[in-house]
Amino acid sequence: MIELEGPLGKSDAVNRELVSLERELSTLRKNAAIDPFGLYLYGLVLKEKGSDSLARTVLVEAVNSYPWNWNAWSELQSLCTTIDSLNSLNLNNHWMKDFFLASAYQELRMHNESLAKYENLLGTFGFSNYIQAEIAKARYSLREFEQVEAIFEELLRNDPYRVEDMDMYSNVLYAKECFSALSYLAHRVFMTDKYRPESCCIIGNYYSLKGQHEKSVMYFRRALKLNKNYLSAWTLMGHEFVEMKNIPAAVDAYRRAVDINSCDYRAWYGLGQTYEMMGMPFYALHYFRKSVFLQPNDSRLWIAMAQCYDTERLSMLEEAIKCYRRAANCNDREAIALHRLAKLHYELGRPEEAAFYYKKDMERMEAEEREGPNMVEALLYLATYYKAQKRFEEAEAYCTRLLDYTGPEKETAKSLLRGMRTAQSNIPSMDVEHLPP
């Protein structure tokens, strides 16, 4: 067994005895002189050697004859990268299988299925912290941060020394910018065990939130030294490097995350953003495409991609429109998509579409009770549009709403109203003239 030099010091090991191990284990298996743990070992060797399908078969044998070996399950899961390979497994019915499936669904980004399984399991194992944490994970992936926070608070009450999965809690706190809660959490895990990658990651998150990026990077580095395949630490470190304007380091960190697990859409997204920052929108598109492929229901990704197409240099507006439309369909929280859609359609000279999207955008703002320049813009456009369409009632309604705002638009609205009134007073008389006798 030989250690190799990794990016953060010696880490990887290459085992040169795999061949002889495999030979020994395979003869044992042939002679049926192997127990489930031996099978598990054999599966590991096979996986390391790259013969995945045989490894899957052997691991299935292992878990079928002894279902309580979770390591065997998780190795098996790491070999199931598609839903098809998962479904093709020939597994005996056992409650361990449910745990396995739930976790596998999670990994395959089928979060709702996974959540259902876990909630089902929670009925049986009511006090399991593990299941709680997994549910939190699934909800986190579904971006339901409030629930996640509640679950973690509960978890910490039950198990004050818990470190596992707490990095996710810290992510939630980070996203909600809860400084004190995050620092409290960091302190807590630090006291419990400061040499856990999760602890380092939480501390890194804390420093990041405080804007001390160098320190943050140091802790992420430490986390990675403890576990170099710690996916989220790579990605988060990438974010830090972006903040520090160290582009090559950021790209490198993201790329390592992607190479550890090519399904990490955040890292792909990070790569795309980094390249976009450098003024290489076309190059960035490749990465956004990847991330969007992995997470097609995330409006942020679609918007990022759309903005690439929307740049002055590329100005591939049709493609941008397509992306914005996808984003709008994915419950776009920041409400960028509708507004841009309306604007783009307007610029491309499609007034009906523009009006449609302005209206949608406005309805949305009304529902969320948001005001702002976008609202004014939408109202103004709709007013002029309906006026041009000679639908004066609607136009008037929008104009009167505009009067509530201050600024130049108010004057425009007034003049619009005046214009409409004069037009309306003329029209009836003209109609009379043109009435057929």
């Binding site: 067994m1 030989i2 250690e3 190799l4 030099e5 990794g6 990016p7 010696k10 990887d12 290459v14 040169r16 795999l18 061949v19 002889s20 304007k245 160290n246 582009i247 090559p248 790209v251 490198d252 993201y254 790329r255 190479d259 790569l271 390249y275 450098m278 003024g279 290489m280 929108p281 076309f282 190059y283 490749h286 990465y287 240099r313 590329l314 100005s315």
Partner: protein, 901 residues
């Protein structure tokens, strides 16, 4: 086991080195004899010494030869004695069966080293000086062995077992004798057969990489940038393919000793045990990159990918592997893998790994050099036939390199854009080059694509010159030469009616550019010969040695295997009638060999194509087809399309002449298909295809259809400013009218074509137009015969000097017809005036297999003979006439020959 003993300086003892040691022992046995046992002469002894020297020099090579290879080399070098050597070597190797044997072996080896303590040196004794090359090698081996842990010794023993076994299994003659010896080991060996021992020294590698990184040493790795760039270009008339490294010596030998497939085989799992230093791996990768770029198909996609994957697993920080994977998938047209690997490579290396670019003074190193990534991505898209994306990416590259003030990258990018513009033709770019195209917007006026191309070329050239990028300057000169050759120049921006509108191609410009470029190439060649190639040079050593030594033994092998080709022998000694062909052909041949020495197969192919075209025009189709066969063997898969194109062209001409019109049309259609490939419409090819279509129709006497096609072709050429083609099409129209019997209508076309030719200095075409004009006059009636004759005589010098067989024959026949139709001419007075040209024409047309014209010539001859009362000759001519007419009627008979090609 992590704390493994590091061998000093990555010099690990391997079975191959043990073999060399054994040979050293033969060379200098410790016994005191002046001439050791097996040698019968000092020369023999010296030869082995030289061979050993070469072996020790090349011991840093990444791939050590296997035993069978060594045996083969021995056989070549040592002549008669090889049997004894090989026997001794194999028996000695297989006698090593325990660690103790190895210990004893190396203790013995110490004995052959002379030392200061050895006292009096006897005159005759062969002693290795410890300071000599061989002595040093031996000392290093002994030291390396002494540093091995017991485990290491065991590994070495196992490896020796493998090493012998492989060789023995591959050379059956020794199997029988040696199997007994190794039989006892065999089972033990089997046990370890698949064992993976590569990593023994691998820590070293990554360490070195780190060291290099920290020293921020630039490793010349993307030296290929311009090459990939121009490797993509298929159609450019004359294009440089600059080979920065490796002199010509290397080129000659490389195909001989180490066929690339062989090297990849060496890497297969159970023998790739001896990976060594970073240096060597870099060298190996460099070599492979060269091989791929020279001839992509020589590396098999999967096996090389396998090697690279293993390399990557062992050296995760060696990002260059990703680049090789990119190259590999690129040349095997695997778009997705190429894209993936390209991105991965540049993500990791940030474009800063090994560039031959001087880092700019401003400290923008922090940023990385992602513009290079864009440049590569653009070229990749272009290669895969996505010109639109390519242009998009290259535009981005221009912007980013401007932002980063990376002038070098900018120059290369501009050159890439130029290439693309000249490649994808005018029609398909016009849409793309709209608002989004920024590099030349500074000029502010909307320019035609050709003008834009010219501006870009000049910009790139200027930048390249100021940055002293010789390769780029050279290729820019060549691109400009091509531009000058194919485009008619007019003042770039002309205002008002006063601006001169002289349209001219300028041959002097072309020549100037060509000379400039070749000058630069030679300059570059002399410069690069002083450069040493990293890693690769240790390999070269042995290869070079191989040539002079092996030349005696294996000269016949050399003839067929190496690049100095059979074709050359074929073409050179044949004494050629027209001195023209010799001159032009040999110049092309010279260029072909020059390209070959330079290592670019695509340019060599181009030169061959030109040569074959000349063969077809001047020597007839048989020779051309024979030559094409050779060329096809030579460029089997490389630039297939160009050879294919040539074949189609020749087939079309040939069938037209044979009168096999259906087949001709079929071939013509295929040409048309080739014209609109994925990369966009190739305008040149498209015009050619429709020109050929019109000619086929004309040959089928479908005059109105032919005229329609020619007319639309003329419109297209006019629209896209293809002036040279315009002249050709006009001439064709004149021809059509002549054939259809409307000589009066044909005259204006011929005159127009003539004036085109005059203004563009198209001398040969002008001669051909003059001939057509004469024929037109002649067909207007016999009273114009004198005028026609004078026209023909005026064009004769050009036609005879530079024209092909067909043109000459046509001129001769026309001349004869002029005489015959001239009322003042009497055959009886001077029959030879008519008969001579007719004979000449008939000979040439028979070579060309142009049945129709040949029949005409014989017909005229027969009539003249009849008039003269020479009936025997008349019958002969009539028979020939009949033969050609028959052949014209039944073209099927000759098809068999054609399809065999």
């Amino acid at each position: 086991m992590a704390g493994i003993v590091k061998p000093p300086g990555a010099f690990a003892i391997t079975p191959h080195k043990v073999s060399v040691c054994i040979l050293l022992q033969i060379y200098a046995p410790s016994v005191q004899i002046s001439l050791p046992f097996p040698f019968s002469s000092v020369a023999q002894h010296n030869r082995l010494g030289l061979f050993l020297l070469a072996l020790t020099k090349s011991c840093d090579d990444i791939l050590e030869p296997k035993l069978d290879e060594l045996i083969r080399q021995l056989r070549e070098v040592c002549g008669l004695l090889h049997d004894w050597f090989i026997d001794h070597l194999t028996s000695r190797l297989s006698s090593i069966s325990s660690p103790d044997d190895l210990f004893n072996f190396f203790t013995d080896m110490r004995g052959i080293l002379g030392g200061p303590e050895s006292g009096v040196m006897e005159d005759d004794q062969v002693i290795l000086d410890p300071g000599s090359n061989l002595g040093m090698f031996l000392r290093r081996c002994i030291l390396a062995f002494n540093l091995l842990s017991f485990e290491g010794v065991c590994h070495l023993l196992t490896n020796i077992g493998h090493y012998c076994k492989e060789a023995l299994s591959s050379c059956p003659s020794y199997e029988a004798t040696c199997l007994e010896d190794s039989n006892s080991n065999l089972e033990a060996l089997l046990e370890y057969e698949n064992m993976d021992l590569e990593n023994l020294v691998f820590e070293k590698v990554t360490e070195e990489i780190e060291a290099r990184k920290s020293a921020s040493e630039t490793v010349p790795f993307h030296l290929h940038a311009p090459q990939t760039l121009f490797g993509l270009v298929e159609d450019i008339e004359v294009l440089v393919d600059v080979k920065p490294k490796q002199g010509d010596k290397d080129r000659e030998a490389s195909s001989y000793v180490h066929p690339p497939n062989d090297t990849s085989r060496d890497f297969e799992p159970n023998c790739g045990i001896f990976l060594r230093s970073n240096w060597q791996i870099q060298g190996y990768l460099q070599e492979q990159a060269d091989a791929i770029e020279k001839n992509g198909s020589c590396v098999s996609l999967n096996s090389f990918e396998l090697i690279l994957r293993r390399l990557h697993k062992l050296a995760p920080e060696l990002h260059r592997v990703h680049f090789l994977r990119y190259l590999n998938s690129l040349c095997h047209d695997d778009y997705f893998a190429a894209l993936e690997n390209l991105h991965r490579y540049f993500d990791y290396s940030a474009g800063t790994e090994g560039i031959d670019i001087v880092p700019p003074a401003s400290g923008c190193n922090n940023f990385g050099r992602y513009e290079i990534a864009l440049l590569f991505l653009g070229m990749m898209h272009f290669r895969f036939g996505h010109p639109k994306q390519a242009l998009e990416v290259l535009t981005e590259a221009v912007c980013v390199s401007q932002q980063q003030s990376n002038d070098t990258c900018l120059a290369f990018t501009l050159a890439a854009v130029c290439n693309m513009l000249s490649e994808i033709g005018v029609s398909s770019t016009s849409g793309i080059l709209g608002s989004s195209f920024s590099p030349s917007t500074s000029i502010g006026i909307s320019l035609s694509v050709q003008q834009q191309l010219f501006v870009l070329l000049r910009g790139s050239l200027k930048r390249a010159e100021s940055l002293k990028l010789k390769r780029l300057v050279t290729s820019n000169h060549l691109a400009k030469a091509k531009f000058d050759l194919t485009h008619v120049q007019r003042p770039l921006l002309s205002f008002g009616p006063k601006a001169s509108m002289k349209l001219k191609t300028c041959p002097i410009n072309v020549c100037k550019e060509l000379r400039l470029s070749s000058h630069l190439i030679s300059e570059f060649g002399s410069e690069s010969s002083t450069m040493t190639t990293d890693g690769a040079f240790s390999t070269v050593w042995l290869k070079n040695l191989q040539n002079p030594l092996g030349s005696v033994v294996s000269s016949q092998e050399n003839g067929s295997g190496s690049n100095t080709n059979a074709f050359q022998f074929y073409a050179q000694p044949s004494s050629i009638p027209g001195s023209v062909l010799q001159l032009i052909g040999s110049s092309y041949l010279l260029r072909a060999t020059a390209w070959e020495i330079y290592g670019s197969s695509s340019d060599a192919a181009l030169a061959y194509v030109k040569l074959i075209q000349h063969l077809a025009v001047f020597r007839g189709y048989k020779e051309a087809f024979a030559a094409i066969k050779i060329a096809e063997e030579k460029f089997l898969s490389v630039s297939k399309s160009r050879i294919l194109l040539l074949k189609l062209q020749l087939l079309h001409e040939h069938n037209l002449h044979l009168g096999n019109l259906k087949l001709a049309q079929k071939v013509c259609d295929e040409l048309g298909v080739l014209a609109s490939s994925v990369t966009g419409v190739d305008m040149e090819l498209k015009t050619e295809a429709s020109l050929r279509h019109a000619r086929t129709l004309l040959a089928a006497n479908q005059f109105s259809e032919a005229a329609a096609v020619a007319h639309s072709l003329f419109c297209m050429c006019y629209k896209f400013n293809l002036q040279v083609e315009n002249a050709t099409v006009l001439l064709l129209l004149a021809e059509i009218h002549k054939r259809s019997g409307n000589a009066v209508l044909g005259l204006p076309y011929a005159l127009a074509s003539l004036s085109f030719c005059q203004s563009f200095n198209l001398d040969l075409l002008r001669a051909s137009a003059t001939l057509t004009l004469a024929e037109l006059w002649l067909s207007l009636g016999s009273n114009h015969a004198k005028r026609a004759l004078s026209l023909i005589h005026g064009a004769f010098p050009m036609i005879l000097g530079h024209g092909g067989l067909e043109l000459c024959a046509r001129a001769y026949i026309a001349e004869a017809k002029c005489y015959l139709s001239d009322p003042s001419f009497s055959v009886f007075d001077n029959p030879e005036v008519v008969l001579n040209p007719l004979r000449q024409a008939s000979i040439e047309l028979q070579v060309l297999e142009y049945h129709e014209l040949a029949a005409e010539a014989f017909y005229l001859m027969a009539i003249v003979f009849h008039k003269l009362g020479q009936f025997e000759e008349r019958e002969e001519a009539a028979a020939s006439f009949q033969k050609h007419m028959m052949a014209l009627e039944n073209p099927q008979q000759e098809q068999r020959f054609l399809f065999n090609i």
